[in-house]
């Protein structure tokens, strides 16, 4: 009876999912309700979790509830702590949820809502969730070892070295592009800048409260900080309306870029926990709250999507970023479907908290499904706007023209009608002077979110507050990623330099702290400056670069996973990681080829450098810099691809050697110890 009910129940879910996916895929010409995307996503995740992840857990990984995890065997009350599975799930989700799944899908919406939605669903179920799950389990079986350590042990030292370089490269490019998103969101926006500036005194106040008044009451003080931030958003409108105050908080993009670099250096080099730790808590509080609010809002209000399923820009001529739907939609979405960076979290803190092997399925596979759901929400937020408005916000002046009239005319000529008056009215409604040329995805997401909420809660009068709330959420969240990322990269560089000259590795030696902080900030600051000065808006070159490096790291993670699966004598099931690996190789290598060698100057770095160099006019300093930047971007892409090729070749040699019996299939797991925990088995 139970079996019959289960078959009927899951059959209904499958049927509902098929109808929803079919509707999303086949609908043309008419606007579609966002609820179809929500239903399609829910059914895909439910089926993927129930059947695919269970297949992997049982047939390939053979999860063993009786095997003691490192959290139990090495419990020390600090890093290794046996933790409730739901608590680990929440902790893991909070660590993997970054700006990527919000920004990537918003940018990829230039192709229409369909490509992004399909890749976010399929990519998560068959690639991203699988990667996070298997890497988490393999790390649990190796005392919580990191991805780089596993790559070194299971492939060869070259694997560890490449993973290390890829992590540093991703961090630097990510930090540069994150900073650019903040700059583009806050430039000439006194309201937004005031709100973000206010988070500093609020964080200091929170720090004093935490240290002196109620030690350790982080949740309480975060809620208090959140109320103060809401007050700052409310107050921001008065700042923007007062000419003298507005002038104080109005900055150009280059000035904001310099301020952010100074902030990044201070955050890395100075012992400023009183500011940074409370800001981190505040940012997490706002992040989790906003994601929950947006999820509830979309389900309750189920807005209509105005963006078509597919736009003309699938041919590669898109204004937001150049490049055809394959491979650029996949590179752009990145984290919403699969993120190499998640492999670092899955082999970082999380494996040290897992109480039972069987819980890795829910934590690894499940948390990535939640991240993918955030990406679906971002697609909905981007696509509820009229397409003309979406393109006006996200297109750089270098593509659509400098004046409002020129931009509106260009975008309307593409078949997405918008007028300068529409844009002026929207800018006025959200309390900005202009919304043109705000590349980077954050302002578009904020407008989409404000659009969704203002239609039911507060109407047009609250639109500006919703917009600035969303903008504050993204900027605060991204700045936290920026300061945390700078410190993580600084530690990684110090660890490496410590092998060359011991004092450089000491995290308390100030000359080393200052030098490595300056090095890291200079590296991402260079990319930020390049983006600020780029006539094509910066995102066109930097986001694909970030996407490529992120997906290349996922390639390394899947190489490690496939190698271990083959060593476990499960070669006949290796397709679960091999197929996503082959797909990622196809996507990243094709994208890299285009970014380096494509003859289209908006796509290929070298073509753009050649075009600039061939200009008949004398080459100015700025042009020479642009030429150099393009060559540098091409070199960075090329080096990353060559390094990942080395890992691939080395992995292939391992697989062939094991499969033809020339090499011993020996995994480097910790020995089996029977668990002493008697609670439920996960």
């Amino acid at each position: 009876m139970n079996k019959t009910l289960a078959i009927l129940g899951w059959g209904t879910v499958a049927l509902l999912g098929a109808v929803a996916v079919g509707t999303v895929a086949m609908q043309r010409g008419e606007p579609i309700n966002s609820l179809w995307l929500v239903v399609a996503a829910t059914c895909c995740y439910a089926l993927g979790y129930r059947f695919y992840s269970k297949f992997i857990a049982v047939k390939i990984l053979a999860l063993d509830g009786l095997r003691a995890t490192p959290a139990e065997r090495l419990e020390n009350g600090r890093d290794f702590v046996v933790t409730n599975k739901w608590v680990v799930f929440g902790h893991h989700f909070a660590a993997i949820a970054g700006p990527g799944p919000l920004v990537g899908p918003v940018l990829a919406a230039q192709f229409g809502y369909l490509p992004g939605t399909m890749w976010v669903l399929a990519g998560a179920v068959f690639a991203g969730c699988v990667q996070d799950f298997v890497i988490l389990l393999f790390s649990v079986r190796r005392d919580g070892k990191s991805l780089t350590a596993m790559a070194k042990d299971e492939i060869r030292p070259v694997g560890g070295f490449v993973a290390y370089v890829a992590v540093i490269a991703i961090l630097i490019i990510l930090l540069g592009v994150c900073a650019l998103i903040v700059v583009n969101a806050l430039k000439s926006s006194p309201w937004g800048t005031f709100t973000i500036a206010m988070t500093m005194p609020i964080a200091l106040l929170m720090g004093v409260y935490l240290r002196r008044i109620r030690p350790g009451k982080v949740l309480e003080v975060s809620a208090l900080g959140f109320v103060l931030v809401l007050a700052a958003i409310w107050g921001g409108q008065y700042v923007s309306q007062n000419p003298a105050l507005a002038r104080l908080f109005t900055f150009s993009a280059p000035t904001l870029a310099i301020l952010i670099m100074v902030y990044g250096f201070a955050a890395s080099a100075l012992p400023v926990w009183l500011l940074l730790a409370p800001r981190d808590y505040l940012s997490t509080f706002v992040k989790l709250g906003t994601i929950a609010l947006l999820g509830v809002g979309i389900v309750a209000l189920h807005p209509t999507l105005h963006m078509p399923a597919l736009t003309r820009f699938v041919d590669g001529t898109g204004p937001v970023f150049a490049g055809k739907i394959f491979p650029f939609a996949f590179i752009t979405i990145a984290c919403g479907a699969i993120s190499g960076f998640h492999a670092l979290i899955s082999s970082g803190t999380t494996p040290k908290l897992i109480a039972r092997e069987t819980q890795t399925r829910m934590v690894g596979y499940g948390a990535m499904m939640a991240e993918s759901a955030v990406a679906v929400m971002a697609i909905i937020a981007a696509c509820v706007m009229q397409p003309g408005i979406y393109f006006a916000i996200n297109s750089p002046a270098g593509v659509v023209g400098q004046s409002p009239a020129a931009a509106a005319a260009t975008i309307s000529s593409w078949g997405f009608p918008v007028t300068a008056a529409d844009m002026q009215a929207l800018a006025h409604a959200v309390g900005e002077l202009t919304l043109y040329n705000r590349t980077g995805g954050a302002p578009a997401f904020a407008v989409g979110m404000a659009h969704i909420f203002s239609h039911s809660l507060g109407g047009e009068t609250l639109m500006a507050l919703w917009y600035h709330f969303a903008l504050m959420f993204e900027a605060l969240f991204i700045l936290t990623v920026l300061d945390a990322g700078t410190r993580v990269a600084r530690f990684m560089v110090q660890d490496a330099l410590g092998h060359v000259y011991k004092p450089l590795g000491r995290t308390s030696w100030y000359p080393s702290i200052l030098a490595t902080s300056a090095l890291i900030v200079a590296a991402w600051g260079y990319f930020l400056w390049q983006g600020v000065k780029d006539p094509l808006g910066g995102i066109n070159s930097l986001w694909p670069l970030f996407g490529i490096s992120n997906q290349l790291l996922a390639t390394v993670a899947l190489c490690v996973a496939t190698t271990i699966i083959i060593k476990m004598h499960r070669a006949k099931y290796a397709a679960v990681t091999l197929v996503p690996l082959a797909w990622l190789v196809a996507v990243t290598f094709t994208a890299s080829w285009h970014k380096i060698f494509d003859s289209n100057t908006r796509v290929g770095f070298l073509a753009q450098a050649r075009a600039l160099a061939a200009s008949p006019a004398p080459i100015s300093g700025a042009t020479a810099q642009l030429i150099f930047n393009n060559r540098l971007d091409a070199a960075v892409t090329g080096v990353l691809v060559i390094m990942v090729t080395l890992v691939l070749v080395e992995s292939l040699r391992q697989w062939m050697g094991i499969l033809n019996g020339a090499k011993e299939a020996r995994v480097k797991e910790s020995p089996f110890v029977r668990t002493r925990l008697v609670e439920e088995q996960g």
Binding site: R78, V88, I96, T284, T349
Partner: protein, 62 residues
Amino acid sequence: MNRIRRMISDLASTAIAILREIFDEAAYARFLSRVGLASSSEAYAAFRQEFEEAKVRRPKCC
């Protein structure tokens, strides 16, 4: 009715436990029990000092 009430209560306590872990309150409680101190400004300062080194090395995702 009682079952629903218990379910809601379980749900709420799990949500609070998740938030306490994410916001490091649970880590602070473990620190206090490990070193045998009561919560105070000094204890919190000692916790931050010990905790900060590990926390700043944790990558945050993109």
